[in-house]
């Protein structure tokens, strides 16, 4: 009996959530809808070209150099300050790390290069 009542309540909650969500979708402002439209056409063009996403590609060299420079500058200049991470943040990180990897990040070579550089620098320092 309780289970049946719970199911009805759950269905009502889902229906109300769906209604609110749909209203928020319908209420998206014109500028955002226009951005979505433009992004869609750019995405289709980029996919047809089969190339890298232009938005990311143009920043890869600059951000790589900046990241490397920042790491070197920090390691050169000061000792690390150890601040204990709060429990919720640590739990949230743990949840993310324990999830099954989907290899999406393999595409982000810049990110991996940065981690590798950081590890190498740490081993030299340590």
């Amino acid at each position: 009996m309780n289970e049946q009542r719970d199911n009805v309540t759950d269905d009502r909650l889902a229906a109300k959530a769906k209604t609110l969500f749909d209203e928020s979708v319908d209420g998206l402002d014109a500028a955002t809808v226009s951005r979505l439209n433009r992004n869609r056409h750019e995405a289709l063009e980029a996919a047809a070209r089969g190339g890298l996403n232009v938005r990311w590609a143009q920043w890869v060299p600059a951000t790589g150099v900046l990241a490397a420079a920042a790491v070197v500058a920090v390691l050169w200049g000061r000792e690390p300050t150890v601040v204990p991470m709060t429990a919720p943040a640590a739990a949230s990180d743990l949840e993310i790390i324990l999830e099954v990897d989907d290899f999406e990040m393999l595409e982000e070579l810049e990110f991996y290069s940065w981690i590798e550089l950081e590890e190498e620098t740490e081993s030299h320092v340590g």
Binding site: K18, S24, A43, V83, E95, I97, D102
Partner: protein, 202 residues
Amino acid sequence: MNAIAGEYAVSCTRGHTTGVRTLQREQELNRFFAEVERRALRIAEIGVRNREDALDLVQDAMIKLAQKYAGKPSDEWAPLFYRILQNGVRDHHRRQAVRRRVMVWFGKGGSDQDDYDIVQAAPDPKGRTPHEQLETGEAMVDLEAAIAALPTRQREAFMLRTFEGLDVRDTATAMGVTQGSVKTHYSRAVHALRDALGEHWK
């Protein structure tokens, strides 16, 4: 001579047919994206709590689907598209976690999420009185905050099932888990939301 001309004609016809098929596929993809993009944006936005990042994630998901899975039957596009999008959201959270550690290293514990104004970001429903707008807006703000506080898998299961209307099988494909797992995550999500949102939602 006639044979060569015949082969050339057949080749041209094949090329034309392939071109027409590619164009048709592109138009189908365009229609599919146009149909899902607004809901996808809001789902991503609730996941990352930032509209600009959500816009980028939706566009990246479109590019990847078009590049890798355009040849799949169109009824498989929705779960594949949301799988790519959810992967993007998870990668975003991983990057945020790394950034948090770097900020801690610099002695600054700040987080981008602290700057996210959920009221500011909530879209204005059209054609409503200010009072109705306020009520609806507040309810959506409460709902978004409660969903954002759910564990990742529960959040994904709830949004894909409830907001996008995917069935259990497609949700399982989108999340990369079993159908049983989807049911468990969804059930836990609804119970957690019921507890978080209180009496008005029961």
